[in-house]
Symmetry: C2
């Protein structure tokens, strides 16, 4: 429980100072300015008073219990001071001081030391190198943070890895007069974790929306668990930055190289129902709407405007975001026809025209709210100098205060003349935006959250398989870091019910003849040696060998070419042409593996047309992955071709997910190509690589 | 010349009224509020005075010359009033009144009538259904517009098809205290055209940036000409809306269906060097930077920050927009190392850390400006409460006023406390943004304009061809609307030096045998009848016929199947496998055709991986089209495959551009597939369709 951090009954400031430019001073100032509902104890061995507060030489001199301390003294002094805090029974220590993990090895040692000291006394460390926390709950009103955006009560809580980004988010809510509930920028996360904070905000009844800024996920598994739980109650909006950083896992094979850090964040967000945003402005826009408006039941939106151009932009944006323009019911059409001026356009968008007053604009919104074809409203209102704009605003505010469907509003006006219009509408809870684009995007986010809430229960079907035999195979390799021989990989796949092409492995020309007789021509011959990873590129694959003669010739050539590797050879039946797809898995530490699906060949290499999901895959996940690749029409049977066996593809993905989850030592798997035959004829793995890792 | 419109010496208001909610009243108020530098004459047959101005019963009663009238009377009264204006010698009439073309046939008649009346007297009509014009030039200061955003001098001129969008653009410049130069929202464009206005703004020395909002291009050819001329002197920024509208040209074939209205706008913008934007906010952000900052010489940017997180966002955005992080020179590195605190990060981004004051932050910017590796600077400044932020701002403003490289700035602060910081920096000309994303995007736009200015002279190479023979072929078909027989299409292509596969057309089985002997097996047999457009889908194509036997069998089957069409048949040599590409052209009225290029098959059908350019194509255009498709690596030879003959592909595109430009009756051409063989082995058209139209 983080109550001692976010709801402290008393705060001590270690490093308090009368220098107004010091952090210790600024924190006290912020606590005072925001009327913290508890005593403030400056700690300073030299000054008798800090501002008008009596200062104490040490925390042990304070004649009161202390929940929270803010520390902004030299880094090397922190451990000693924490000993005192621990003895005093302090619950949480916000360490603003920098110079820990972020500066290298020595700092990391110091950071471990302060956590050890704290834990000795059941105390928790927040930070170090942290900004602080805020809680606007009027019964607490704590601003234990050295930043500058004023705080007032609201229902959006923010947790930000970067203080600068967190400040930006607060700033823009402040600019439109919107409060926040709680705020946290947690620094190095040495002890109190982002996941704990999200969990805490999730349990806070007054928090309606959580905004999260993430640079790197320290504990992805924990995030998945917490976020998955919280998003069922309230939306989590995430801004993940550092997308183009070099922090990409260095991995060897194809599948791996496509799975970057950022993809991991994406699959975790997807699985846990977190809404991801790609700009600070967009996350703010969405948070504003989600904090006051009900969640749309469907993507059916109506646009209302009193000027044409911006409505066209709203329509462009809504359609691009996957929304649908609702068709007005005949009753609504009739009602608006009677209500509005003859020049008005009763369609979607509804153009009430610039001369519409409160009766026309307001009446239109009332009629549209009643229409069951419509699940959300986007209003565009420019303030015409020839209309009583405040009357329109009063009417819209009155409607907005009780509307059961979400409304977002764009107002084009100058504040110095019609500021009251904006104020009235905002006060009713209807979010007001400057641009049609913003309102449309916010609506699209709300609809996306509605879809997350409506997700059906995932069907985690368990397929039969011979796990015992799989374990037998794996046992021989476990503990090493290497690629498994192809025969073993194919056998493993078969244990999990994944069909792989008929294959034999041979060493010599004599074996070749004998084994070839067991298979049906045409055949494929492939070299098989650990050193040769990209066989095709190396000239180690011969396709379509139609008789023994050509097989022997191909063998001789290859045996000569690769003699130095002392390779084995794989002999396979040549399959009828299927559609080439690729599947893969990549292990994640402390988390299920990431599963990949895409079309094979150039599609994956050049166009990166692939989808990722986090294991375990549900039936819906697998189908979704297949249906959301751009090339899906090719699998569906573009231009008269027969559709591929989508059902079997999905099943194979789920089976792959089960195999890679059952054996965490599987570092990566790359089934490439997999042939998908026409509906009813299944799926066959043609080539596969599997790399294991040694795990603790 | 539009001087009478934008620099009127006198204005009369027809429909002037003492009703403060009337347009006639509001226009007078706006003229008065902005101190119009000329006499204002209200025209009203009933009132003696409007505000404090003497009103005249009719324009003919005014004892003075009139350059401009604003008309806001009933639509049907407009023609009569215009007669009076014409007789009086009025130069321009802004018609605010609606109820013309936009309401249907009768309105269109009325609109034609008012233009006819005006032209009788060499008078010009602006509108009807128009908002009006503004010119902030202090020697004119005319606000002949009924809207509400206050005007002050600036150097951005705006021309907007939608008054609502135009108002939004003005509004956001006003909000950050930025003026405009001229403004125009021109309504129905019955006479004075958008292109004339852009041309006028282009010639205005004080206009540094032109923002254009477009819903539909009334005269694309005129726009191309004017914009192409103006963008060599100053940037034109365009917002084209209505992207998802149903206003898509209904066309029959594949190529055509990909070429929507929006694509036409794109190719026109590309050719004329217009920067296209997809949101109102982004166009504003870019205009602000371009109006004061020099154009970057390269994409090498440096990011400076005093807080980490937002800089990461700036880097993400810059990299995604194609910018490059400049590498600091050793001298710069050394200078910053000496200047900055030890915790600072001297790299790119440069993190001067939060405690940096004017000496550190300012000195850093000065050093970076001197570094020849750097061509633009993005500054991120959060106002730390423990720093003299105004001193930093004064220093940055001082530097910004004389900097020879573009600087954009993000300031994270609250205006009520550090408004002066924002004001000082803005005043120096450095644009200030709220978000790192905005600053990065603005910078990217500036760099894009720099690249437009640096475009090399297009190489419009004319290839040899047999135009006479082509004319002979076309002559037989001209005047009809139909698909040409394939043999003629291939011959036309050959006239323009475009190689097409060896082909004969036959009617009967007997002919078949004889003609087949002239060609080399394997052969391809295709049905050929006007009714069968998608031959493959219809089962009208047989590939890889290896001998006479299989050819005859295939012929019999096809002849039976398509008997009802009495078809002909095409016999072709089966080409070695080339890479499949597709090329096409689509005629545009009054403008060169649009040329298309893409990878064939599923790439064009499913992934829409195609590029468009407007004919005539230069060599650079053709190469650009090829290099910018997503699948380009496939042509370059992905995974060890041999590269395709890119040079010959480009040449073929230019030749196609010449063919389709020479014969405007070619409505659309669809070369699909075209085989691109390996480098040096050329390009071969395998199938082609060509539809002609009858033109006036």
């Amino acid at each position: 429980m983080l109550d001692g951090l976010f709801r402290p009954k008393s705060v001590a400031i270690i490093g308090a100072s009368n220098n107004p430019l010091s952090i210790g001073h600024i924190v006290i100032q912020n606590l005072v300015d925001h009327n913290f509902k508890g005593p403030i104890y400056p700690i300073n061995p030299k000054s008798g008073f800090i501002k008008s507060f009596k200062a104490y030489p040490s925390i042990s001199d304070v004649p009161d219990d202390i929940d929270l301390v803010n520390i902004s003294i030299k880094n090397t002094l922190v451990p000693t001071v924490l000993e005192d805090c621990g003895k005093k029974g302090v619950k949480f220590a916000i360490v603003h001081t920098a110079g820990f993990k972020e500066v290298g090895k020595e700092g990391l040692e110091l950071e471990k030391q302060i956590v050890d000291v704290a834990h000795k006394y059941w105390m928790r460390i927040y930070g170090p190198n942290s900004q602080g926390i805020q809680n606007s709950d009027p019964s607490v009103s704590v601003y234990a943070n050295f930043t500058f955006v004023p705080m007032k009560p609201g229902n959006i809580s923010i947790v930000a890895q970067s203080g600068g980004v967190g400040e930006t988010l607060k700033l823009h809510l402040h600019r439109i007069g919107k409060g926040i509930r709680m705020y946290s920028s947690f620094g190095n996360e040495a002890d109190v974790s982002m996941n704990e904070i999200i969990d805490y905000f999730g349990q806070d009844e007054e928090t309606k929306v959580i905004m999260v800024h993430i640079e790197t996920l320290k504990d992805p598994a924990g995030f998945l668990e917490v976020a998955g739980r919280v998003t069922r109650k309230k939306p989590i909006l995430a801004l993940k930055t550092g997308k183009t950083s070099e922090g990409v896992a260095a991995v060897a094979s194809h599948t791996g190289s496509l799975m970057e850090q950022d993809t991991l964040a994406d699959v975790i967000f997807e699985k846990s129902g977190v809404l991801r945003f790609h700009s600070q402005q967009e996350i703010i826009e969405a948070a504003i709407a989600l904090s006051t408006q009900p969640i749309p039941k469907s993507e059916n939106v109506v646009v209302v405007t009193n000027t044409g151009g911006p409505a066209i932009i709203a329509v462009d944006e809504c359609i691009s975001a996957g929304l649908k323009l609702a068709k007005l019911s005949p009753e609504t059409g009739k009602a608006l026809g009677e209500l509005l001026f003859s020049e008005a356009i009763v369609s979607n968008p509804v153009d009430v025209i610039a001369t519409a007053g409160d009766k026309e604009y307001g009446g239109t919104v009332e009629a549209l709210l009643k229409d069951s074809n419509i699940d959300s409203l986007l209003l565009n209102f420019v303030t015409p100098p020839f209309v009583d704009c405040e009357a329109v605003a009063r009417k819209l505010a009155e409607i907005g205060a009780t509307a059961q469907k979400p409304i977002v509003c764009v107002i084009l006006t100058i504040e110095e003349r019609w500021g009251e219009v904006i104020r009235l509408i905002r006060e009713s809870g209807i979010p007001v935006y400057d641009f049609a684009e913003s309102a449309s995007r916010a609506l699209a986010s709300m609809i996306k959250y509605g879809q997350i809430l409506q997700r059906e229960e995932p069907d985690y079907r368990e397929y039969e398989g011979d796990r015992k035999k799989a374990e037998e195979i794996m046992k021989h390799h476990r503990g090493e870091e290497k690629f498994l021989p192809q025969a073993d990989v194919f056998e493993l796949l078969r244990c999990y019910g994944i069909s792989a092409v008929r294959t034999v492995r041979i060493e010599t020309g004599d074996e070749l003849k004998k084994e070839a007789q067991k298979l049906n021509y045409p055949l494929v011959l492939k070299v098989d040696a650990e050193e040769i990873v990209h066989k095709t590129d190396a000239g180690g694959v011969c396709l379509d060998l139609r008789d023994e003669d050509s097989l022997l010739k191909a063998f001789d050539a290859m045996a000569g070419k690769f003699a130095k590797y002392k390779p084995g050879f794989i002999l396979q039946e040549n399959l009828a042409d299927g559609k080439e797809v690729i599947m893969g898995s990549k292990a994640n530490d402390g988390l299920g593996p990431t599963i990949m699906f895409g079309l094979g060949g150039v599609f994956v290499e050049t166009l990166k047309d692939v989808q990722f999901r986090l294991a375990p895959l549900s039936q819906q996940d697998a189908l979704d992955m297949i249906r959301t690749i751009k090339g899906y029409p090719i699998l569906e049977g573009a231009r008269g071709a027969k559709p591929a066996d989508i059902g079997k593809l999905a099943e194979t993905l789920v089976r792959l997910s089960q195999l890679s989850s059952d054996f965490p030592e599987i570092d990566e798997m790359d089934l490439n190509p997999v042939f998908a035959f026409e509906k009813g004829k299944g799926v066959e793995v043609v080539d596969a690589r599997l790399k294991i890792r040694s795990i603790g």
